[in-house]
């Protein structure tokens, strides 16, 4: 299915965060974005890929997983509508994917070209500030989830003793 630029901006405008930013910034991001329809089971990227997009889920659910030898893929997080994933692509020092992404149901995502987004942020620090602020929120909430998972809050004391 082909989408044009108008579709992309229309989808982006639905997202609360984009409602808060200036028209020109929305336009700038929209220009470097594309819509992608994904089918259940479709892999968006794999660990180690240098594929360079920041994604926003519009519909459906995308799971992030890490492959552990002898244990298989462990799902560590799922992204729901308006969740952002693939944020490491925007951070200039990380050159490859730290987890894989797979659509678990049919859905729609927006892919933002990360290289172009980095350029846009460098060129316009106002936009850069907004994007980085948004990303820091995402990273902070991801970190909280990771901490709660790390605590293993459902563990019983017996489990701890066993370790």
């Amino acid at each position: 299915m082909r989408y044009d630029k108008a579709d992309v901006s229309r989808e982006l405008e639905k997202i609360p965060w984009f409602k808060e930013i200036e028209r020109k910034h929305l336009q700038r991001i929209s220009d470097i974005s594309h819509l992608r329809h994904v089918r259940a089971g479709e892999i968006l990227f794999r660990e180690g890929d240098q594929e360079d997009y920041l994604y926003i889920v519009i519909e459906g659910r995308v799971a992030l997983d890490i492959f552990i030898p002898h244990r298989g893929k462990i799902r560590i997080f799922t992204a729901e509508p308006w969740d952002l994933f693939g944020w490491s692509s925007v951070i200039p020092n990380i050159y490859q994917r730290t987890a894989g992404a797979v659509a678990v149901v049919d859905g729609l995502v927006v892919g933002i070209d990360s290289a172009k987004l980095r350029e846009a942020c460098d060129a316009d620090h106002d936009l850069g500030y907004l994007v980085m602020r948004r990303l820091s929120n995402i990273v902070a909430s991801r970190l909280l989830v990771t901490r709660l998972q790390l605590i293993d809050m459902f563990a019983s004391p017996e489990d701890k003793n066993a370790k």
Binding site: D65, R75, F154
Partner: protein, 288 residues
């Protein structure tokens, strides 16, 4: 002074911790180390007279081993049998795990406070729970389903460690059909799990909560409860509309033995269900 002349109110049997015998009718395994015991009092009058409110618990006694507080997980309208969902973690509950259908235990109860079923009428209900925090909320869900038109939007957000640890998964579809939005998340998924992965407090943002007309019920690990309350407060839900069910070392069920105290409260008597504004000043004190 001698009290011969003093009238003393007596409301309990002369036998302290008197056992009331009950028979295990069926045992339903729920997850690793967790099972639901369907129990019926041996004395049919006693069974007929037994009534409880959603959120209350019974003291389950195994002669020779001791007593353990177990929340009641069945339908309050089911007067035939009483469901107790037990996690095998202590001496008593491990002994319970060896019992079979037809074995006899003792039940004392019901004890404690209950979920605010009446106060929530006409309001939205948001239930955030984790792990073995769902069983004490199941009677509340049954009550809501039976009185569905009395409540507004009802959401159950439930999390467990893995998909295998989810309680009562076969019922979710029934609950959804009855008009409850059931949302499930796990801490860790595998390649076959297509549901949510994450933790309960985090998923709050996915739901629109009207802070003026929503009551929040939460039960689960205390760390989860803490973050659920942070989220609820961030959404401006007033503290007197957040209800928490706590677990402590309940022994007597009558606010007498002292073990389950949290500040001025005997959790077995004033709890286990608390309105959070009454709990706030003690809840976050470390090791209190």
């Amino acid at each position: 002074m001698t009290m011969l002349a003093t009238e003393i109110v007596r409301t309990h049997a002369d036998l302290l911790l008197e056992p009331h015998w009950a028979e295990i009718k069926s045992i339903i395994p729920e997850a690793a180390d967790i099972a639901t015991y369907w129990i019926r009092f041996v004395d049919s009058d006693e069974q007929e007279a037994f009534r409880f409110e959603p959120g209350q618990f019974n003291m389950l006694y195994l002669p020779g081993f001791g007593e353990s507080a177990i929340s009641i997980s069945s339908d309050p309208q089911d007067h035939e049998k009483i469901g107790h969902t037990v996690r095998f973690v202590g001496n008593v509950t491990r002994a319970v795990s060896r019992l079979k259908v037809g074995d006899i235990v003792s039940l004392r109860g019901p004890f404690g406070s209950h979920w605010p079923m009446k106060e929530m009428e006409g309001k939205d209900v948001f239930i955030a729970c984790g792990g073995i925090g769902l069983p004490p909320l199941r009677p509340a869900l049954y009550h809501i389903i039976q009185n569905r038109d009395k409540y507004g939007k009802v959401t159950l957000l439930y999390g467990a460690r893995t998909s295998g640890d989810l309680m009562f998964p076969k019922e979710y579809e029934d609950w959804r059909k009855a008009g409850i939005d059931v949302e499930v998340t796990v801490d860790r998924g595998d390649a076959n799990w297509n549901g949510r992965v994450g933790v309960v407090p985090m998923w709050f943002y996915q739901f629109r909560i009207d802070p003026h007309k929503t009551t929040i019920l939460t039960c689960g690990p205390e760390i989860m409860i803490r973050f659920v309350i942070f989220e609820a407060m961030a959404r401006r839900v007033p503290l007197d509309r957040i209800y928490v069910s706590l677990e402590r070392n309940m022994k007597c069920g009558q606010g007498s033995c002292g073990h389950c105290q949290l500040g001025p409260y005997f959790i077995c008597k004033e709890g286990p269900v608390f309105r959070f504004d009454e709990l706030q000043s003690f809840f976050n004190v470390e090791e209190f």
